[in-house]
Symmetry: C2
Subunit: 612 residues, 2 copies
């Protein structure tokens, strides 16, 4: 009855044939007179989701996590992963071949500085490292007298005989009724920013920025409608868009040619060289621009300035059409969530449901809307102790029955053409313990503190982050992730520049959409997270107020489990917020529900809170 088409539950524990692959790579090293090679988990755009053709680290080491680097030397091989992935790396990599290092405590550059000697010659692919990343590596090598040498094409590609072809997802135009602003107008605004930055041209290396600027969407990576492409926007004159022509249907090509010179990816590097040749000042995005781009410009005498991609901020501030789209998407998605929650409440007490059952059901309810393009990320569905693993992804091997007495955390999202969603609910099967209710209520109080926050325009997410944590702190608890991340408009579910986190130093601007997702995780026992998306809006003016104020409008519509709330821990203001939110959820979603689900929602949004 239920089916997941966008998410696989495949277990990826099968070990890569790392032995022969390492041997082949080392032969290649020797042939080139190198003593080492660096293999990051990265593509030339520093994408969050890396296409199969770029998964060199997984091919070589077997490790499939979303962050990692390998350093391959003649006699040793090292795999660097962060704390989230230590266990997974030990399972996936052949420990007779690789030693596992801590990516944060001993990052690769520090390791190189401590272990290389002056005779070492370390190679790297300049398309897979940012300018700053390459600078760090170069500095570390230089400190030991070793050489760091950029080499292309990537050495792995010479030995990866069955490397998949690059993706060729068809590009679609993102309609003005979703985008709200024409590509012409966006490009005019971008040119004005380039002029302010005193640059001659902007290299757009982030495909999200390309998608936004040209009002296109693609299908090259999972869960995000990204078109892998580069663009160069000169301060005056026509932009150039570098994209594989096989992704372009005639109408799309025709529209894009109105906006830009559409060129083959192979033309990109020569175009950068030409900018250098004519001594241009080229602005690169410090977050995504590959070292190779800077080399091409500077190598021919051009000047590079690095900084935030100005498109990132423009893209993060949604216009009124995108905001209307987000509201519509959240009503649609909320109705699907409510169908799921009603189904779950009927089915779960039987004691047979598994995590995968829940994922499949939720995806099916979302597909039933008829408008689901993809899920916005692999659903995190953790029963009992699995809920405490913050980045848990259920596989056929880890799948658990959701047992009575357990909490079930489900974090999921959808891609619709009018908006991207991301929601987490924590559900109780059977009777929760007093501790669970206490923790859930503290998380909820933090969630409400963010939802109700009023703050001067220009406040950063870092200034708000502690509001979400204060009630956990008071009980000697905390959570080890940010409180919120930016969310795109039918783009990535993780979008910069603003976030609500200890280090979220970008200002929150009206029109930005962020998540509000405090949590609490008890290792080996349960996980709690309550996540809604919020929109930064102008707050109603206060008599006598001196500063323009902002506030959050909660976009996500779905009931929060009232039976998990210890009512005495809530203040009157918090209870009022919860009741208003639930009334809005019921009122807004009811017209979109069948009678049975509508009745369930009416009950779920008004039933008694839990015991104290």
């Amino acid at each position: 009855m239920f089916e997941a088409r966008f998410q696989s539950f495949e277990d990826r524990a099968e070990r890569a044939a790392s032995g022969p692959r390492l041997a082949a790579l080392r032969t290649e090293l020797a042939r080139r007179g190198l003593t080492g090679w660096i293999v990051p988990h990265a593509d030339p755009h520093q994408n969050e989701y890396v296409p199969a053709s770029e998964r060199r680290l997984a091919w070589l080491t077997g490790f499939t996590g979303s962050a990692g680097v390998a350093i391959i030397l003649i006699e040793r091989a090292l795999l660097f992963v962060d704390g989230r992935y230590t266990l997974q790396a030990r399972e996936q990599a052949d420990l007779s071949l690789f030693s596992i290092e801590h990516l944060v405590e001993t990052p690769p550059d520090r390791w190189l500085e401590q272990n290389l000697t002056a005779s070492d010659r370390i190679g790297y692919d300049p398309w897979l490292h940012t300018v700053e990343g390459a600078e760090k590596l170069a500095k570390a090598c230089a400190a030991t007298g070793a050489a760091l040498i950029p080499i292309e094409p990537d050495l792995i590609d010479a030995v990866w005989t069955d490397r998949p072809p690059p993706p060729l997802g068809p590009i679609k135009l993102h309609d003005l009724r979703f985008a709200g602003e024409s590509a012409e107008d966006k490009l005019a605004r971008i040119r004005a920013e380039i002029a302010k930055l005193k640059a001659d041209a902007l290299v757009v290396s982030d495909p999200h920025a390309v998608a936004w600027a040209f009002n296109i969407r693609g299908a090259d990576v999972a869960h995000t409608p990204l078109p892998l492409a580069f663009a160069i926007v000169p301060v005056q004159g026509r932009p150039s868009l570098y994209v594989d022509g096989r992704k372009l249907a005639n109408d799309v090509r025709h529209r894009l040619e109105e906006l830009a010179d559409v060129r083959a990816p192979a033309d990109f590097a020569p175009a950068l060289s030409a900018l250098g040749e004519s001594k241009k000042t080229v602005r690169l995005d410090q977050a995504t621009a590959a070292d190779a781009l800077a080399r091409l410009v500077i190598g021919r005498g051009g000047k590079v300035t690095r900084g935030a991609d100005p498109i990132a901020l423009m893209k993060a501030v949604k216009n009124s059409v995108e905001i209307a789209g987000a509201r519509a998407a959240h009503i649609r998605d909320g109705a699907a969530m409510v169908r799921f929650l009603a189904w779950f409440e009927r089915a779960a007490p039987g004691g047979k449901l598994t995590e995968i059952d829940a994922v499949e059901a939720l995806e099916t309810f979302r597909r039933d809307t008829g408008l689901l393009k993809d899920i916005s990320f692999p659903t995190i569905a953790g029963a009992g102790p699995d809920g405490a693993i913050v980045h848990y992804r259920v596989t056929s091997k880890t799948d658990r029955v959701i047992a009575p007495g357990e909490l079930f955390l489900i974090d999921s999202g959808a891609q619709y053409e009018d908006g991207t969603t991301d929601i987490t609910r924590t559900l109780a099967v059977g009777e929760p313990t007093a501790e669970m209710r206490d923790r859930f209520t503290r998380v909820l109080k933090g969630h409400i503190a963010i939802a109700r926050a009023v703050f001067p325009d220009g406040t950063t997410g870092a200034q708000l982050d502690s509001f979400a944590r204060q009630f956990l702190w008071a009980a000697g608890l905390d959570f080890d992730h940010g409180t919120g991340h930016g969310v795109g408009s039918y783009l990535s579910v993780h979008e910069g520049p603003a976030r609500i986190a200890k280090l979220g130093t970008s200002a929150l601007k009206r029109g930005m959409i962020l998540s509000n997702e405090p949590g609490y995780y008890k290792t080996g026992a349960y996980g709690i997270r309550i996540e809604n998306l919020v929109l930064v809006v102008e707050a109603p003016p206060v008599a006598g107020g001196e500063k323009p104020l902002d506030a959050f409008e909660t976009l996500t519509l779905a009931p929060i489990e009232r039976r998990l709330i210890a009512p005495q821990l809530l203040t009157a203001d918090e209870t009022a917020w919860l009741d208003r939110y639930h009334a809005r959820v019921a009122e807004t979603l009811s017209p979109h529900l069948d009678a049975e689900t509508r009745a369930w929602l009416a009950a779920a949004t008004t039933r008694p809170l839990g015991r104290d």
Copy 2:
């Protein structure tokens, strides 16, 4: 009856003889083949209070503010000051000679980059700029092709004929009953830090750090018992202390010679050269080390590493003796404050008191303790609109009568051998308006939110700062300064590394003393600030808690004006905090007060709150 011995009310509006001084400097420039000279408000230690012999900027320009830079070119002269000082600079400097620039919006390096040409040769004194500061200037000059040239001695000194001699305040030993740790033990801990930093020697360029490490105090600058001195601490072997021998009585010299080689200031530069000569790695404090120090080491082939002075953190974490001293100092200071507050309440309604009267009275009550060494900074005493000027300093010219219906803000502190204090109270003369009570109560709620905060060990001040602002934000208000700064132990009233501020990214550690001083300022009308010092302490453990928790213990003891509080704005928890605080103030201070003042305190800590 009352008298201020430590604070002057002199008006400094008389104009400097800038015309001839500029002419003499320009003659000197021409003689050296320079086209410009940079004059910062700084001494070789980057001290907050600059001794008279180092006030080159004031001598040249007439500007006496605490931050500023002049750039003197052949045809133009510019004075850079920040927003606080724009008006003062326009009054003090001769505007026919100097144009005023904004220090923050167009800092000197940016101005140089935009205005110099390739033929310019700009000189600077490498003892008055940090390494980083000099690097910025050099980069700016290089971008235009101009040269930046270090020159010593300072060019100003060649033309400043009546330059005061450097201060020779006698150095005293800071007794173990105040310091709590011997200099030997401190030096052993410092050496361990130097080893961790993989340096061969630490240059101690911050006189606060010298004072702390050697358990000495001096009298070279106002309000802070600083001995101007440098030290070099090698990772092994005897430290060297560079200090003018005329500051040392025999017993002090004898004690210091047990700890270190005591050398003349003139020996300091050759010692740095010698470290360079022997290829040592020398650690410099990035906040205070002059560019000259790095040049001396690197010029002879040594290596310099820059970073936070490890002594700064050690000094900020007070030991149990210093904490006991702080508590004793705050009882003593609180009793003096209460005498002042009781006197003020009797005297103010007469309508004749002025700001200077209040400053003189308060200093006199503090001197009456018999233990006052100095005030810890010039008292900020602002009646009505003067209270809204955050860095107001009353002079005989600005002095105002404190009129009925006005608020009076008084921010002051004391230096006792056992501790440094800093307290602000806002007092009402006559009946405050409803708006004043509303604003005062919002500031108080923020103050209480900090005072009651409980947070995981390692939390930064930036993570707490918004707790102090949230109630003002809700009314469209805010304040434009940090919530709190670190405070030394019989040292500077402004001490790093931790602070409670948007950019306070240093972790709060148990034993640190900080201020808690939210405020609100209505330009042209009134200012409000409520400041207590707080000590970071371990919070009582919570059942089920997972993290070590910290909290603040409020050290400052003095009533907060209850008639300025709108009671309905306080929660029950906030009211309980206030009542507990006031009960503690009355109980702790009463034994130290005469009967009349004791009765006043009993009333002041219990009287009805204001109207809503």
